[in-house]
């Protein structure tokens, strides 16, 4: 990234990426999780370009259709195409989980780095505040926040994001503390760098892989939390839809049309499973010490 004097440096970095990729391919859960995650993202992007039907088209005539040539997965009790709703739901899940992770990283990681760098009182205050936030079960605090701010996709993003902050703060602090003891940090200090600079320029790049893995796992949790909030009617609002909302609507139809609950349910399970597998695999692949054991 620095000076682009071409040379063996780039070749070796490329080789290292290659190596990660190759080891990744040998890692089963990394591959399976990666494929599911990729598919999920593709579907989310697809929703902007194309859905089989518009989900705002209600046609009561066609309600509760079983899968057929026009409606590949059938229709719900308003006659909306279920496949289209699943695709749009994927998009909403991605947006909510993604922005929530952004909030978690954007606030949590600096907090964790500052806590690790300053120790003493600042550390205590930050971490005790974290513990306080963390002590509430995530879904309860999310319900509390949406209850205060009102339901809606944006507020559910904020709620899930706030829950992500202590998670990232803890991970960042723990990882940063182990690096503060390293000699190259002492060397950086002897070059006249202040603690803040060292935190962001030396420690952050070193804990990056740990944060990525955590982000993958939080992504799955975020999707689950979004589904939970929407299921309770606190998340995505009509006319848009999300998997949790579909589950909610399916509940009343459970005896007449159980398939309405099965589709979004399976979508949630598959996606979260895929993300968790991917996160696990990513940790093993990025950490050379773990790689050998598998």
């Amino acid at each position: 990234m620095w000076l682009s004097i071409r040379g063996c440096g780039e070749v070796i970095v490329a080789r290292r990426m290659n190596e990660i990729f190759r080891h990744g391919l040998e890692h089963r859960s990394f591959v399976i999780g990666g494929i599911i995650t990729l598919l999920f993202f593709l579907i989310a992007v697809l929703s902007y370009i194309w859905t089989p039907h518009s989900i705002e088209n209600l046609s009561i005539v066609n309600r509760l259709k079983l899968p057929n040539a026009t409606y590949w997965l059938g229709t719900d009790h308003f006659g909306r195409d279920i496949l289209s709703m699943l695709i749009v739901g994927a998009r909403n899940s991605v947006i909510v989980a993604f922005v929530a992770i952004g909030i978690g990283i954007g606030i949590g990681v600096p907090l964790g780095l500052i806590a690790a760098a300053s120790r003493g009182w600042t550390d205590e205050i930050i971490m005790r505040f974290n513990d306080f936030t963390f002590a509430f079960p995530s879904i309860i605090s999310a319900i509390m926040i949406t209850a205060i701010l009102g339901p809606g996709a944006v507020n559910s993003i904020i709620a899930i994001g706030i829950f992500n902050i202590p998670v990232f703060a803890r991970v960042a602090r723990g990882a940063a503390l182990s690096f503060w003891k390293r000699e190259f940090i002492l060397a950086a200090r002897s070059a006249g760098k202040g603690t803040l600079r060292i935190s962001f320029e030396h420690i952050l790049p070193n804990i990056f892989s740990i944060l990525i893995v955590q982000a993958t796992i939080q992504f799955g949790i975020g999707i689950l939390a979004e589904a939970g909030l929407s299921y309770l009617g606190l998340g995505t609002q009509p006319p848009s839809t999300s998997w949790g909302k579909m589950l909610n609507e399916a509940q009343t139809m459970l005896y007449i049309a159980p398939q309405l609950a099965i589709y979004p349910g399976v979508a949630i399970v598959l996606t979260v499973l895929g993300l968790n597998l991917f996160g696990d695999g990513l940790r093993d692949v990025l950490d050379p010490k773990l790689r050998r054991n598998r």
Partner: protein
């Protein structure tokens, strides 16, 4: 005015049983361009002295006395002001080159860091300066592109990068804390030559910290022998090493393996100083070396040893120095 003047420097660490002095009342002085060696066993306070100068001591340590760099007391500076001293006016090289470089940053970026921090120069100039520094430390950019990562370099090459980082801003004082201890003997020589050469060329003062008397003899003009946080003997290196007055210095020299001349000497065991360095919290009254010293007198165990002036700036802290006429 001297470049560096340590005045009654005392470093103590707060423990559950109250503060313990790890460095007691050290006085040292060096002028611009001087090369000062600090020699002593592990745990004698060599590195602590160095870290005290750039105020990077572990938390909970208390420093008193004065550390004058060009007449300015570094202990009076705020942390922010101290950051402008480190790397800019005082550079430091560490013992372990394998761990002293950040593994995820390129060597070019790491050398450029203190330049960006301390000098107000443009991107292009920084780039040129980094290339020049690489050249100076014997890593021409043709063969060692700046975007290499540290793990691709050998220990000696990494130490060269460390040296480039330390001298990047042309400091007045370079502290080398056992710069060659972790290196191969063959590389050791090259690194010492490089440090000496750079110090001579830019006229910066050098503090060479080592337990290796050979390294000290080779690189320094002045030497300070330390033991349990005290100075035992200071003076011009040649004089101290040839006419040592302190029994401890003598013991250190006797413990160097020498190729024997007679068959008997060849078989004889290597001399060791008897006993062990006293634990930091159990230092005896009087001279801390008394229990291990063959020359100890009664007074050594009760009173602090006096400073004796042997002329020509050669000082020793001892009741019973080795007679300078019958030195071995």
């Amino acid at each position: 005015m001297s470049l560096l003047h340590l005045e009654n420097l005392t470093v103590s660490i707060n423990t559950a049983d109250g503060p313990i002095d790890i460095i007691e009342q050290i006085n040292l002085q060096m002028s611009a361009g001087d090369k000062l060696g600090i020699v002593g066993e592990s745990g004698c306070g060599k590195s602590i002295t160095a870290l005290a100068i750039i105020s990077l001591l572990p938390e909970k340590s208390i420093v008193s006395g004065r550390i004058l760099l060009n007449g300015e007391n570094l202990l009076d500076l705020s942390p922010a002001e101290m950051c402008r001293v480190r790397g800019n006016r005082v550079g430091m090289i560490f013992q372990e080159p394998m761990t002293a470089l950040n593994p995820v940053k390129t060597i070019g970026a790491q050398i450029a860091e203190s330049l960006k921090l301390h000098l107000k120069i443009g991107r292009k100039e920084i780039q040129d300066r980094v290339s020049q520094l690489m050249e100076d430390v014997g890593l021409p950019v043709r063969r060692f592109p700046l975007d290499l990562y540290p793990h691709l370099l050998s220990g000696g090459q990494r130490q060269r990068v460390m040296i480039a980082m330390a001298i990047a801003c042309e400091p007045d004082l370079l502290i080398a804390d056992e710069p060659t201890t972790a290196l191969d003997v063959t590389v050791q020589e090259q690194i010492l030559d490089l440090i000496l050469d750079l110090a001579d060329r830019s006229g910066m003062g050098l503090i060479m910290i080592s337990h290796d008397l050979g390294v000290i003899a080779q690189t320094t003009e002045q030497v300070a022998v330390m033991y349990t946080g005290n100075l035992f003997e200071t003076g011009p290196t040649a004089e101290v090493f040839n006419q040592m007055a302190h029994p401890y210095t003598h013991g250190l020299f006797s413990a160097i393996p020498k190729p024997g001349h007679s068959a008997e000497q060849e078989r004889s065991r290597l001399y060791t100083i008897p006993g062990q360095v006293p634990e930091i919290h159990m230092r005896p009254d009087g001279c801390s070396f008394a229990d291990r010293c063959g020359h100890a007198l009664e007074s050594c165990r009760t009173q602090d040893p006096p400073k004796i002036d042997l002329g020509n700036q050669h000082l020793a802290w001892c009741f019973n120095p080795i007679n300078r006429t019958d030195k071995g």
